[in-house]
């Protein structure tokens, strides 16, 4: 494994001593050249997991190893500098992720300028190369972020992260803020870059349909815990966990014939808030198959079939 989280935990403290169990004992590894898709509803803790994994949040518990080496629980500027050439991230919000006061050139060149301390002018060729590689034009160099569409900004974010040639890329819903037509382009671009650079990727998304094309394995999160993990296609067509089954069933089918036949088993109710969780199955409140013990004991993530890990008492 290139990076491996073991029982990683991130709690946020709220006023009154309450705690948000944003990420609760998640163990997940990403192998070299592997793309792991991380899916889950909004608020399930995907972003928090991604950020805690690479040090943008202090860890509340558990550990992360990168190439076997333990990463610090709490990062300082020096720790980030050390891993800058190894791990990068693409952020969820293409609007907040670019400094409105900087030109596209300054934004993309930032990583190299910080690492090599070179003047910006010396980096121009490389920046232009990356700009074109993500499908933008050299004309755009002196522009400011507000002059770009969401898809173009996301490409700028990709170029900024990849210009330092990292080994691991965390893509936090790089497509969910974009139009469907643009989503496919960005996914395709990321797929190409991943293949040509031999990247490892954690690809975060909230629906499985698009991620399954780029992922080798997929992980499903619910309320801060990992509930299912397995090979992408296998998991998509044969989901084992009741939640994953509902999640996939609620996905609209592109084929109208299938769409009509799809049994409409939408997940009922809202995702509960992850504040001060009790020790039981996170999904018990909404699970159609819940039993008495589901409300008492938290199921562990176990390998139920070769390569298929599920956290459910019934399996």
């Amino acid at each position: 494994m290139l990076i491996e989280a073991t029982a990683l935990r991130k709690f946020f403290s709220l006023s009154g001593g309450r705690q948000v169990h944003a990420v609760d004992e998640v163990s997940l590894g990403i192998a070299e050249h592997e793309v792991v898709g991380l899916v889950g509803e909004s608020g399930s803790g995907k972003t928090t997991f991604g950020k805690t994994l690479i040090g943008l949040h202090d860890k509340s518990g558990g550990e992360v190893r990168y190439r076997g080496e333990l990463l610090p629980a709490r990062y300082g500027a020096a720790d980030f500098r050390k891993q800058a050439s190894e791990i990068q991230m693409i952020f969820q919000d293409p609007y907040g992720s670019l400094n409105p006061r900087m030109t596209i050139f300054e934004i993309i060149a930032e990583g190299l300028a910080i690492r090599e301390g070179r003047s910006l002018a010396a980096l121009r060729d490389k920046v232009v190369y990356w700009l074109e590689r993500v499908g933008l034009h050299a004309d755009h160099l002196s522009r400011y972020p507000h002059e770009f569409s969401g898809g173009q900004r996301q490409r700028v974010g990709i170029a900024r992260a990849l210009i330092v040639e990292p080994k691991l890329l965390i893509c936090d819903e790089p497509i969910s803020a974009l139009d469907v037509s643009v989503q496919a382009q960005v996914v395709q671009l990321l797929g190409e870059l991943q293949a040509s650079m031999g990247l490892s990727m954690l690809f975060i998304a909230h629906d499985l349909s698009m991620v399954r094309y780029v992922s080798n394995r997929m992980a499903v999160m619910y309320l801060g815990s990992l509930i299912e993990l397995g090979p992408a296609e296998d998991l998509y067509f044969r989901p084992l966990h009741p939640y994953t089954q509902l999640l996939i069933a609620s996905n609209p089918e592109p084929d109208p014939e299938h769409e009509r036949q799809r049994q409409d088993q939408l997940i009922s109710g809202e995702i509960p808030s992850p504040v001060d969780l009790k020790a039981h199955c996170r999904f018990a409140g909404r699970c159609p198959k819940a039993e008495a013990r589901c409300f008492e004991e938290r199921p562990a993530l176990r390998e139920v079939l070769p390569g298929r890990l599920v956290a459910c008492h019934l399996l």
Binding site: K51, A77, G96, N99, P100, R101, Y144
Partner: protein, 463 residues
């Protein structure tokens, strides 16, 4: 479309000519500040207030070059005059040159009452410098009482202001030098036998004309021959209760007002930036402790500290104290800007672009100067433009209640304070400084409003 009519020829498949760039719409790329400036220019209210602010600054800084009257020059002959564009004045001899008129005291004939004064006459020209009166002796009079009124006294009852009385029976004249203005006065002279006044006096209507003495003319470099007509300096805003030019004082007072108004906010916002920046950037316990201190300072009563600082600097009541005022403003006003900066920094620190920069290995100084500072400049500028009118107003208020700048240094607040005493008789002394305070406060507030709209990056980047 019918299928038959649709004919294609080989020419239809010829490649199109290479695309020219004629249709490409090229818009110059605008930086944040350029863009903000464009938006500000579109906001007519903000733009006019910007011009107003510039005009006010020019008025203050360049005004004294063009309006060269000395703001300290007192002209007791021109006290509380309304606005005027200069006036001609007669040059007259100095008041001391007249010895007065003496006559013989006449005894009172037996059985007669004290009579009215006769032959009340003005000696020479009646001017704003002096009105010289003389009259014939009244038999039995020991001295004479002189009254002045600015309307015709009816039935001998309201004779007006008692100007004075002569001391000896031989003195048959009186020179009135009491705050004369160019207008008509009614003088009444009544004889008195030392115990009782005569039942009636004589009233004379006198119209004064503006005049200066030869000595004053010489002091001002004007022609100093008696009888000459000279042009007196204009007072477009009138004069104050000491005859000083209000326009010159407004210009000079603007220096104090704008100095406090601009320097105090600059200083306390600078403190706020550093303090709030440290809190927001480092966070944690340091932040909690520092912000509690800021809360404490916010709770301190401003006036009390103002008084303490004045005492601390040994400044008594009625003395000028620009420095304690500046100090009190700076020391007690920074927490609000520190709070603002802290909030901004906290917000920006959580922005994805800052996290991206951290991921790329940015050091603290780089983050601060490259990402945080440029992004808080906008809100800080807006706070500054709102803090300026607040400080100007505070200065005016303090000077008004006598805790700031005191005479002879003018400031708009101090001038309002002086003006309010004569508000009813000569309102211009209050109205002009008050108008300038209001105008400046309004201009800066409107400008701040416009800036806030123009700099709102959310409006811009998330349209």
């Amino acid at each position: 479309m019918s299928k038959q009519s649709f004919q294609l020829s080989a020419a239809d498949f010829a490649p199109a000519p290479p695309a020219t760039h004629a249709e490409r719409i090229v818009r110059p790329s605008l930086s944040y500040w350029q863009d903000a400036w464009l938006r500000l220019k579109k906001n007519r209210r903000a733009l006019s207030s910007l011009y107003l602010v510039i005009a006010l600054l020019l008025f203050t800084l360049l005004g004294p070059w063009f309006w060269t009257q000395d703001y300290t020059l007192q002209d007791l002959d021109m006290i509380s005059q309304g606005p005027s564009w200069g006036s001609a004045a007669l040059v007259v001899e100095d008041p001391g040159a007249w010895e007065g008129v003496r006559g013989d005291a006449l005894p009172l004939p037996q059985g007669q009452e004290l009579g009215a004064t006769t032959q009340l006459t003005v000696e020479g020209a009646a001017t704003t410098q002096y009105v010289r009166l003389y009259w014939n002796a009244v038999p039995g009079a020991q001295h004479y009482l002189i009254y002045r009124n600015d309307h015709a006294p009816d039935s001998g009852q309201d004779l007006g202001l008692p100007l004075g009385e002569t001391l000896r029976p031989e003195e048959l004249s009186f020179a009135d030098r009491l705050q004369l203005r160019p207008q008509t006065y009614w003088y009444t002279v009544i004889a008195s036998d030392g115990l009782t006044e005569a039942a009636s006096g004589t009233t004379l209507a006198v119209t004064t004309e503006r005049a200066i003495t030869t000595t004053q003319a010489r002091e001002r470099g004007l022609e100093a021959t008696v009888g000459a007509s000279v042009q007196l300096p204009a007072h477009p805003f009138g004069t104050d209760y000491l005859g000083r030019d209000v326009l010159a004082r407004i210009m000079e007072g603007a220096r104090v007002s704008l100095f406090i108004g601009i320097v105090a906010p600059l200083l306390f916002i600078a403190i706020g930036i550093v303090y709030g920046g440290i809190c927001g950037y480092f966070g944690g316990t340091l932040d909690i402790v520092l912000m509690r201190i800021a809360d404490f300072v916010i709770a301190l009563p401003f006036l009390l500290f103002m008084i303490l600082f004045r005492i601390g600097f040994g400044i008594g009541p009625g003395e000028s104290g620009i420095f304690p005022m500046l100090l009190a403003l700076v020391l007690l006003s920074w927490p609000s800007s520190a709070r603002l900066v802290r909030g901004q920094i906290l917000q920006i620190r959580g922005e994805a672009y800052v996290q991206a920069a951290r991921m790329l290995g940015a050091r603290s100084l780089y983050l601060i100067f490259r990402h945080l500072v440029p992004n808080v400049m906008g809100p800080i500028l807006v706070t500054l433009t709102f803090a300026i009118p607040m400080a100007i107003f505070t200065e005016a208020f303090l000077s008004f209640i006598g805790m700031g700048v005191s005479p002879p240094t003018p400031s708009w607040g101090a001038m309002s304070n002086e003006g309010i005493r004569t508000m009813l008789s000569s309102p211009h002394e209050l109205l002009f400084p008050a108008f300038f305070i209001s105008l400046t406060v309004l201009a800066f507030n409107l400008l701040g409003d416009g800036l806030r709209d123009a700099l709102d990056s959310r409006l811009r980047s998330r349209e």
